[in-house]
């Protein structure tokens, strides 16, 4: 496996959220995603990175180039060490919020990617995995 196919970005401050966005943009441009697809993926990354920072007390994002039999994609994994989410279904609903935001973070970013997976264990943290296919 080529080392250039994966990268880890720490998420500890709000500047890291900006950095995460820029990294995802770079990768998406390199993989020749269309401008709309780039924008969707970067926006989803921004939402999820902010979630990891605000609700998960920080963590990191792993960017990885993936492929299945027919197409290429970009996979982003967000891991935090926060309190976890006790009701994942409720958290995915639009308007659900605990942080005073609009509650579009999780549900909204799910609509911006093709695959969306969330694993959470109360007390241990949350891992969100998303893939956007080209």
């Amino acid at each position: 496996m080529k080392s250039a196919k994966q990268e880890t970005v720490p998420i500890a401050t709000s500047s890291d959220v900006v950095m995460a966005r820029q990294k995802v943009r770079q990768w998406a441009i390199e993989m020749k995603f269309t401008l709309v697809d780039q924008t969707k993926l970067v926006t989803a990354a921004s939402e999820l990175a902010r979630n990891a920072l605000e609700h998960g007390k920080g963590g990191h994002m792993v960017i990885e180039q993936v492929e299945n039999s027919v197409k290429n994609g970009l996979k982003l994994v967000f891991e935090d060490r926060g309190p976890g989410i006790s009701d994942v279904d409720a958290a995915l609903r639009d308007g659900f919020t605990t942080g005073g935001g609009m509650g579009l973070g999780l549900g909204g970013s799910k609509r911006l990617v093709n695959d969306f997976q969330i694993e959470s264990e109360p007390g241990k943290g949350t891992r969100v995995t998303v893939v956007r296919w080209k």
Binding site: Q38, T43, S46, M102, G108
Partner: protein, 126 residues
Amino acid sequence: MERIPILRMGQFLLVTIQVDMHDRLAVQLQDDLTEKISECSSRGVLIDISTLEIVDSFIGRMLANIAAMARVLDAETVVVGMQPAVAITLVELGMSLSGVRTALNVETGMELLYELRGDFNSEMGG
């Protein structure tokens, strides 16, 4: 601390967002703008986001907040120059910014502000 400059053009304020904003900068802009509207008795705010590559729910919320706060201070807000890819993404995200007025560019945004204030003929600086 880094700040987004706010230009005064007569009775209106003009903000051009040109950086990839982190969240604190967005909150700072919200504070600065309301301060400035009150200080200058501004009647309108024009926010140019034509160089902004993404608008996520945080920045979207900031824009909606600015518009709502400005309205309370008797000023109209027009957001101009949103890029197609950004607009498509924002809709998919579930934000329609229904309380925010929009225009294609600074020029039509200015026209809209004059129209909203109901005085087409007044010159800037008046």
